[in-house]
């Protein structure tokens, strides 16, 4: 259980995290979502006691993490797969961490096998691909068999097999009763991973709810209609109370009427339809819509 309470972090004039409050519960995978620069990594660093909050507090199972003299049995964290010394072998990297926390060296071999790096254990980390470094970072997080695990963008650089494996691993860790917090800036990554979502933008909380509820926010039904008589049909649909917009690809995007009613209207007025399709907004769109106002670095024209 991670309790984030009115957490604020300022760097000079920039506010990275602003009055953030949420709770991450055990037994499920919680997605921590936000656009680049939303304050995800800063929050994770404050949970791990690496950064000092300007105000507010974070506790893990009721304790400030920094009050533990040794950390690996309390939180396993993967912040950045690149946070390793390229000159050490994978095994040596883990052996040093294990030794500092009095974890038996047999556990190093165990986690190496678990993440699929047993064959590469003797190789220097500098020659690892990003995917292999992610696996090494996950191995380090698992070393202490901790009840709380944090992963910052763990899917970056993993191949499809790796992504599947990581998802399975997160689910298993949650099933075992652990608290699992996984950050990402890609909603799609969360769709098949998380049960609960914490969404932030510009350092502020936007949503904290089950994935299904979050997804429901974005399911504004819209119907795509393609017809040679776009003008006539638009008039008819608008008269029925629908909102009609050109979808930019030669068709119409209709909101407020379902496909069946649109079909009836067209039939009654002998209008030829070439396409009639219901579209539900994806999670990605729900996320984009919610965070549109809070994107820190926006490409293209300023809004």
């Amino acid at each position: 259980m991670i309790e984030v309470n009115q957490l604020t972090k300022r760097y000079g004039r920039t506010t990275a995290v602003n009055n953030l409050t949420f709770t991450v519960r055990p037994g499920r995978v919680t997605g921590f979502l936000g656009p680049n620069g939303a304050g995800k990594s800063t929050t994770l660093r404050m949970i791990l006691g690496l950064n000092q909050p300007t105000s507010g507090s974070v506790t893990v199972l009721g304790h400030r993490f920094r009050d533990h003299p040794r950390g690996l049995r309390h939180i396993g964290g993967l912040l950045d797969a690149g946070d390793v010394h390229g000159g050490r072998s994978a095994r040596a990297h883990l052996a040093v961490l294990a030794r500092s926390n009095a974890i038996p060296s047999a556990r190093v071999e165990e986690v190496l096998r678990e993440v699929g790096l047993a064959e590469a254990a003797r190789r220097r980390v500098g020659g690892f691909s990003l995917g292999m470094k992610q696996r090494l970072g996950i191995a380090a997080a698992l070393l202490g068999d901790p009840p709380v695990l944090l992963f910052d963008e763990p899917l970056n650089g993993l191949d499809p097999e790796g992504v599947l494996w990581v998802r399975g691993l997160f689910r298993r860790l949650a099933r075992e009763g652990r608290t699992v917090l996984v950050s990402s800036h890609m909603m799609r990554e969360m769709e098949n991973t998380a049960d609960q979502l914490v969404v932030i933008g510009r350092g502020e909380l936007i949503a904290d709810e089950p994935l299904a509820e979050f997804a429901a926010r974005g399911t504004r039904l819209s119907v795509t209609v393609r017809t040679p008589d776009a003008g006539v049909l638009t008039g008819l649909l608008t008269a029925e109370g629908a909102v009609v917009r050109p979808d930019g690809e030669g068709g119409l995007s209709v909101a407020g009427l379902d496909a069946a009613r649109i079909g009836e209207l067209a039939f009654e007025h002998r209008i030829l339809l070439r396409e009639l399709a219901t579209r539900t907004a994806s999670l990605e769109e729900a996320f984009m819509e919610l965070t549109a106002d809070s994107v820190e670095y926006l490409a293209g024209d300023p809004r």
Binding site: P26, L48, F65, R73, D80, E176, G177
Partner: protein, 288 residues
């Protein structure tokens, strides 16, 4: 990929968490140092080079001996014999090698980002840094003793061919070897302090060179204030402490200020002490 089976576990830390022991941190830092190939290279090669430099100086005196005047031959023992045992240039090189090795043990961990993993694993940051300092200081002391001891033995063996070698039982010889050996941990600790303060490898290296080598070479002993500043530097302290024979004291020109031995020992102690305090303070407070 073999999945390791875990029994479903309670959402609390392992009940049997072992107590946090300092010796685990010492063992981890020891492992951290020696699992890097660059440590072996840096310590091995620089050690060999330093001994070779000293041996080369003694060899030059051995070869030039027939051309030395009677007065030089008469005055050779002990001042020049000791001078060959650890030459000034070798001392400068030891200072830089040890300073940079110390600096990289700390700055390297910051510049790779490893420091975040390290401090997430050991939130007791000061304990961890104290362990690192203990390990590096011990290793560098051993390194200094081996380099200075071997240099003394080889150079005096070479000079004994001209009956100009001295034994370690000669008055002042032990102090000479010890002072030169200690230059290694003193410089390494200064490097570690700068590494913790600056946190960037390249900038730390440049600062080590400027502070340990360049500044003492810009200062003279011609003014009281300048001499005071000069005598407060590590290189000058080593030079003062290793000069045991009266013939090595600078000429008594008016206005020329000489460092005291006690003062130089203090300088030898204060620099690493300040470096350690600075390192422990900044590492505890700073964000990562």
């Amino acid at each position: 990929m073999t999945a390791v089976t875990h029994a479903p576990r309670a959402a609390a830390p392992s009940a049997g968490e072992p107590p946090a022991r300092f010796r685990d941190l010492l063992a981890a830092e020891w492992l951290k140092l020696w699992t890097l190939r660059s440590t072996w290279w840096a310590i091995g090669l620089s050690g060999l080079a330093l001994v070779a430099m000293n041996a080369n100086g003694a060899l030059a005196d051995y070869n030039n001996w027939p051309h030395y005047s009677r007065s030089i031959r008469a005055a050779f023992v002990p001042g020049w014999s000791l001078g060959d045992a650890f030459s000034n240039n070798t001392g400068i090189c030891l200072l830089l090698a040890a300073g940079c090795i110390g600096a990289i043990t700390v700055a390297g961990e910051y510049s790779t980002g490893l420091i975040r993993v390290t401090f997430a694993a050991v939130p007791a940051r000061r304990s961890l840094l104290a362990a690192k300092i203990t390990v590096v200081a011990a290793v560098m002391t051993a390194y200094g003793l081996v380099v200075a001891g071997t240099s003394f033995w080889i150079t005096q063996a070479i000079l004994s061919g001209r009956h100009a070698g001295i034994s370690v039982s000669y008055p002042g010889a032990v102090r000479f070897v010890l002072v030169s050996a200690l230059l290694a941990p003193v410089s390494a600790l200064v490097g570690m302090g700068l590494g913790a303060l600056i946190r960037h490898s390249a900038t730390t290296m440049v600062t080590v060179v400027v502070l340990l080598l360049l500044v003492p070479n810009l200062l003279t002993d011609n003014h009281r204030w300048e001499a005071d500043l000069n005598h407060a530097l590590v290189l000058r302290a080593w030079q003062r402490l290793k000069d045991v024979g009266p013939e090595y004291l600078p000429p008594g020109t008016p206005g020329y200020h000489l460092a005291t031995v006690a003062g130089s020992w203090t300088v030898y102690a204060v620099w690493p002490l300040v470096a350690v305090v600075v390192a422990l303070t900044v590492v505890h407070r700073r964000d990562l």
